[in-house]
């Protein structure tokens, strides 16, 4: 690979991840350009960047998803690279292609890699070819429910119907029996089409008692390494809320095997950049399965940075400049334990419904081992147009039990006024016995929310 020094990065994102990328760029001596929609005129990322440019009206499709607008802004401001963050255009192969054909550097993997991992059916085939187990199931190419029923009969209920173009927990339906599958099949197909532009779907075994374990990887196209694993089992509606590194309660041989499998996959696709390979670990069968690969920086990358001491965002930029990985697998060691919670604009007193509002006061925790990544400022109006993630509170300490106590302490210091947040709920979670024991699976949190009265009724 040719070395191409980057001097100015346009950050094609908003909120905490835009702030995170700007910080990494500054530390590497790069200039930054922020983009913003009308709703984000006063946002923190705009104030922190060297330059900023309005990209369009508030709805994401007119601003943060506007490929043409973003690329011309990069050219107008003399940026030589674009960092996509997560969400928005981060996993758009078309965007990665366009950025490159316009003579700019896309800070991420190649369009080809994004494309092959973005189609979940194609990804499963590549992964199986690499010798890594995938969840039992298969792609169903026809509209006919018969094929789906045959597959489900062979693997056993309950099953999931998943959209091939989905991902990040979206486009998934659970079917408990034949009747259920028959009822949901057509809807799932048309939903996949309207949400992701493709009605390609597959049927997969639903693993009831599973932990969500994922492995962070880094690659330069030639060398690929892993940066250990994270446990992200605490989720609601398949959105993560509480994340830990390393994963508590994982048999040592399984841990090593998952790491190896992730490196095998990354090598197989000659991965370049930062990525995450997600697995389900079936705690009844003591087996793990590949779930999906995310070809971008992930929301929970910070806990891996804390335990390894490696700045993943800086590494992404250095890789994009054509540098060889400066870290070898032997350099990667786990130090202590790290936990992240996501502060979300949702009302714990009202079924966790999202809400918006102007921040009137905010108090962030500090002190030893506490890191807060957020994109807020007082007087900023949290708008309805984007994701409800407000901030990430990350703690690091010598052991998991110390980190848990540190998290409880950090949350006691946290306050946001002006809109409803889930802080109270996170406080309760940080002293919960099940969390303390580490014996949680992917259903734990939703059950916990119902048992503790946060959800009055079952919501889809």
């Amino acid at each position: 690979m040719k070395a191409a020094r980057i001097s100015k990065i346009l950050v094609a994102n908003r909120g905490e991840i835009a702030v995170r990328v700007i910080r990494a760029a500054k530390e590497l001596g790069k200039k930054t350009v922020a983009i913003y929609s009308d709703a984000d005129r006063d946002a923190l990322h705009v104030k922190m960047a060297d330059e900023s440019v309005r990209i369009g009206p508030s709805p994401a499709k007119d601003s943060y998803l506007s490929m043409g607008g973003i690329i011309s802004a990069a050219k107008d401001f003399g940026a030589d690279a674009i960092h996509p963050g997560y969400g928005f255009l981060a996993e758009s192969a078309e965007f990665a292609d366009t950025v490159q054909s316009e003579g700019l550097i896309f800070i991420g993997p190649s369009a080809e890699t994004i494309r092959s991992m973005g189609n979940k059916i194609k990804a499963r085939e590549i992964i199986r070819a690499a010798g890594v187990p995938t969840v039992p199931g298969s792609a169903i190419s026809s509209d006919s429910v018969e094929d789906a029923l045959d597959t489900a009969d062979a693997i056993g209920y309950p099953v999931l119907i998943k959209a091939a173009a989905g991902g990040g927990g979206r486009g998934i339906r659970i079917c408990n029996d034949r009747q259920d599958l028959q009822n949901q099949w057509k809807i799932a197909r048309s939903e996949a089409y309207s949400s992701f532009g493709s009605n390609e779907t597959y049927v997969e075994k639903y693993i009831k008692n599973a932990k969500h374990i994922e492995v962070q990887i880094l690659g330069d196209g030639v060398h690929q390494i892993h940066l250990l694993e994270r446990d992200c089992s605490i989720q609601r509606k398949r959105q993560k809320v509480w994340e830990e590194a390393p994963a508590p309660i994982l048999p040592g041989d399984v841990r090593a095997a998952i790491h190896q499998s992730a490196v095998d996959i990354a090598r197989n696709i000659h991965y370049s950049g930062a990525g995450t390979i997600e697995y389900l670990f079936d705690t009844d069968e003591n087996r793990f399965y590949f779930m999906e690969m995310n070809t971008r920086i992930q929301v929970e990358h910070g806990i891996t940075e804390e335990i390894t001491g490696i700045d993943i965002v800086k590494e992404m930029i250095k890789i994009a400049e054509g540098n060889e990985l400066s870290i070898t697998q032997q350099d990667v060691a786990s130090r202590g334990a790290s936990i992240q919670v996501r502060v979300i604009a949702e009302d714990p007193e009202n079924n966790l419904l999202p809400n918006i509002g102007k921040i009137s006061r905010m108090n962030w925790p500090s002190g030893p081992g506490v890191r807060v990544d957020h994109g807020l400022s007082v007087e900023y109006f949290v708008p309805p147009y984007y994701d409800g993630l407000l901030a990430k509170i990350i703690v690091h300490d010598a052991s998991r039990i110390d980190a848990l106590k540190r998290m409880a302490r950090a949350l006691d210091e946290t306050a946001i006024e002006g809109l409803k947040t889930n802080i109270k709920l996170l406080q309760a979670l940080s002293i919960d016995d099940g969390i303390m024991a580490g014996e949680f699976n992917t259903n734990y949190f939703e059950d916990w929310l119902r048992d503790n009265g946060y959800l009055k009724k079952v919501r889809s």
Binding site: P59, S194, P354, N355, I356, P384, Y385, Y386, D387, G388
Partner: protein, 82 residues
Amino acid sequence: MSVEIIKSQLPGIFYRKPDPDSEPFKNAGDSVNEGDIVGIIEIMKQYTDVKSTVSGKITEFHVEDGASIDVDMPLLSVEPEK
């Protein structure tokens, strides 16, 4: 005859169409049944249907397609059937 005002349960963005290229769910003057979808509210990537709470005739929409709305804001008025 009293008119039923359907109010927003959520803040967000109010849409009168299932997607930008489609026709509105309902227009003023249309008849509506209790439970019919009359709009969608988008907030933070979550979509919630707005349903008519009565059967009758829609007399007026109080907000435009794509408008920002707040909790308890009147969205439309329906004249209930006798």
